[in-house]
Amino acid sequence: MARRIAGIDVGGTFTDLVMQEADGSIRIAKVPTTAVNQAGGVLAAIEAAGTTPAGIDLIVHGTTATTNAVLERKLAKVGLITTAGFRDVLELGRRTRPRAYGMTGSFEPLVPREWRREVPGRMDARGGVVTPLDETAVEREVRALLAAGCEALVIHFLHAYANPAHELRAGEIARAIWPNGYVTLGHALLSEFREYERGTTASVNAAVQPVLDRYIRHLQDRLSEAGHRRDLLVMNGNGGTVPARAVAAEAAKTVMSGPASGVMAAAATLAQSGVVNAITCDMGGTSTDVALIAGGAPEVSAELSIAYGLPIHLPMVDVRTVGAGGGSIAWIDRGGMLRVGPESAGSMPGPICYGRGGTRPTVTDANLLLGRLDPDALLATARRVSVEEIREAFAREIGDPLGMTPEQAAEAVIRLANVLMAGAIRMVSLSRGHDPRDFALFAFGGAGPLHAVALAREIGIPEVFIPFRPGLTNALGCLVADLRQDVVNTLNHGLDDIAAEEIADVLAAQEARGRAGVEAGGAEVERIEVHRVAEMQFRGQTHLIRVPLASATPSRAEVQAAFEAAYFARFQVRLPEIRAVLVNLATSVVGRRLPFDLRALAAGEAGKARLGSRPLYADGAWHEATVWRREALAEGTEVSGPAILQQADATIVLEPGSSATVDALGNLRVRS
């Protein structure tokens, strides 16, 4: 039984730690992320928490190592062996362009054409052999890719989801030659049809595998040297964790793990407060991550992309990115209309107030000018920028041309940013079949709490929920995450053509594989849960509906009924005359970790809660807003807007007319 467990999340700017002590109490730490090697920040966070790796029994780690590697294209050299006639699948994609309008833009596949090699061998759609595998060609091409300097290898054959024999045999041949373990078989990671998505997923895996493997080994070595005795657990994008020694094999699953851990923390926090439906909103500098928690569980999707042309079709927490954040630039277009974004100042030069040379006003600057953000609370500024300087920028760029005072201009910028974000959040929610007004807004991240109340008003959401530590949500997600293994197989037959026994057999095999993965984790698990999903559609459609299955041995009639119910719930349409197709079966095996009492996290701090007051510009006028130290607010405290709640990792603005209460777990519940 672990006594002291630490969740450590590495973000773009900060490395955060939330640690549970044997007595249930909590320690936290926040240190700068070490960009070149994230291990430095991890060790620094442990030190900042006043302990050593030797003193920690279990570390659950969230890393952006692979995310950054993909986005910055700092990847391993990957070679591809594929079916003759199809080596360009990864480059051709599905006939798209980056944006609906504009005939420009470019795309480079992860594996350049010179390292994509074809071999004879062909399966048909039912898994029958059309052309036998040319094993000599496989060996020749593998050696050629090795000689060309490739470090990782992908073997990806057409219809391998239906019959993986050729991939398995080619894998044997390759592994006998390849000097390391970095060989990815397309079907092994994702046994679903759609050659571009499956092949790209495998390529992402291969391209980040050496990067992740080296990083995790290095981190584990540093921790071992410092006396840590246990295997790390690493966060995956599905919101679960896997043991460090197994994580590199399926490295692609870590690529979108950062946003997932935040949503898992949100789900755990909301569950303990009895809230089951929420939209999570993590507003950062350039973008805002939005996810839906419906009925207590984060929505999952297997159709996400990390960037244009790079789908990763593994089950992941469905986090959508909205292109607006604190760094979004305000401007006036050639027609004289006020605009916010889509251009962002990013982190370089960043908003004017960062003092890194930014000259164009941003949303963050507007917050500063209006007293919503305390200039003294800004972290990571290069040079102290005076409010007057920002005021001048708003006058010059926005206010004077539009005939507004700088304050009016700044308020207009915030309001328009909120309107645009509200529209995007509505679309995310409506596209999943939910009216956002039935949800609470769970705001976290640096800038989320700053905008949450105004944003909720814009969407029509009555309640805003701000956790006790909004800036440590991802690290908390590591701490509360369960062990999890997802296994997916494609059947793609009309439901009438599939025997119930076949469904049961696939589900049983999936469960066995998932259980083995979870049990290999060696972490304390309270109990194991198995969730089964059928992904279905009506014949002729290409989008899939996820249909939860209640049983491990469902009858066809039960599957049909569950599908019809799920389809109606989402589209309000019944189509009895059209055949249902069972495309995929998926099993998630979840090893539930011991529950974590969030009350410990919210242990209030002593001291005076009321800090004073300061001017806040809202609704076209200056108000004297009360200012509070959030950590010192006791349970049951009521605060009415206009008010500003400051804490170490975030600032919360209560708009005039809103009011908030501190609940038993330290969360702020705002009536917007």
């Binding site: 599905r94 504009g102 328009l416």
Partner: protein, 583 residues
Amino acid sequence: MDALTLAVIQAGLVQVCNEMDLAFSRAAFSPVIAEADDRSDGIYAAEDGALIAQGEGGLPVFVGAMQHSAGHIIRLIREGAVAPPEPGDVYIVNDPYLGGTHLMDVRFARPFFVDGPGGPSLFCWLQNTGHWPDTGGMVPGGFSAHATEVEQEGLRLPPVKLFKRGEMDREILSIIQSNIRVADQRIGDIKAQAAALLVGERRLSEMIARYGVATLTDAIALIRDRAAERMRAEIRRMPEATWRAEAFVDSDGVVDEPLRIALSVTRRGDTLRFDFTGSSPPCQGPMNSVWATTFSAVCLGVKHIFPDIPINAGTFAPLDIIRPEGTFLDARYPRPVSGCAAEVSQRIAEAVFLCLVQALPDEVTAAPAGTSGNFALGGVDPARGAGYVMYQITGGGYGGNAREDGLTNGCSTIGISKTAPVEVMEQYYPVLFRRFALREGSGGAGLHRGGFGVHYEVELLRGDARASFVMDHGRFGPPGVLGGGDGAPNEVRLHRGGTTTIPQHLSKDQGIALAPGDRVEVKTPGGGGYGDPFARDAALVARDVGRGYYTRDEAAALFGVALGPDGGVDAAATAALRPGRAA
């Protein structure tokens, strides 16, 4: 009105349309709408049908098109030819000559009323269009390559009330259902299309409640003015001049002669005049365009050049598009028009690109592949004992531009839909793809070369089948600009019974009989090149050869780059091939 209220109302109107788009796609059964988003939703002025706002997720070909349709409905009501609107009514219309595209694009229009002193008064129209999988006619799907009159293309509906005060007119529905294929599934699409307008009505009512009729009316007028000013500012960045370009449709599918689009664009002051004088007369086959589609195609081309401009009537006001009477770009009844939305519109947009790249060389691309690559295979699969129709669409290369090489396998200019994976096609149909590959050498040479087309080859495995296709750019490749070379033209080869043939009309044919073992091979166009190929970075040419995009011979002939035995640039030999340039 203050700048914030204006910006917020503009965003709000677009949001209403976005939510109509979403509601339509989500509820539609037809994959053409549900998956390919071949639909669009908008808000139109009560007095003249001018576009107030349009959803951002609409199919690009509908930019600016539906205001013509709304305008005709309003005119016909004024003339007494169509019954006046009442709350809850929905008009249905697909007549191409009344502001439409082709017959398959069916428009629904719903009047939006607000409470006035003397009862409800008409405030605006909500309208959408959706591509129905079938509206009758001589071939399933409506794309006959050989039709010579619109009656052969399907059922043509004038504006009639499909819903009267909220109730569907079962008699009109019955006429529609008796004239189209797979009629039973259409009821789902009809409900979805009408429901989307209802979503728009609810959301717009919320805006009325929040801002009031007067403020909203003022804002709509101002938004229109600002958009026009925005467009004028873009126009003022161009020199005062006239630019000319030509684009060619291979043939009309009936008469084997190219159809010429002659476009001249003149900037004078704040306006941009588009003149199609000199274009070919109306054609016998279905490659005619109607006026609304021609207008929309110009707007689409402009929107691709300035992706950030809003879509409303004000944006298009400074565009003086002269109605090309007497040409195939302004076809009248009964000319067949099924090819106008998918192919002719792309040639018109291409002519816009080729003119305006001369005005704004740093912002506009060379010509893209510009064909939807429609290929249909229909037959009976003996293994399933069932009939099937397989549709394959493909992209092609985009044109190079001032910053970068063109995109490979980009979507058609007018569309946003993805192609189906080979693994899915082989699951559903008795075919085997022998290859699905990048078409080597197809990108036009240039400082920044064109993107590459696709080269695929599909074999029929079982049963007899018939193939049809409506593509384009088979006669001439997409033009390069500013010294760049043309992209490779579209090619179709039929491998039947051991012999290989090329279709007479190159890119269009229908009813081609195939037996098991026969193959259809398609090479889609590459994009045009941008700028002087001899100025292209020699190292990039060497990289392209290393990747097999071009051969060594092509590198020397097209780009003036000689490669050494190791594949690297041979500087001395390259200097000799590129006289007068730095190596």
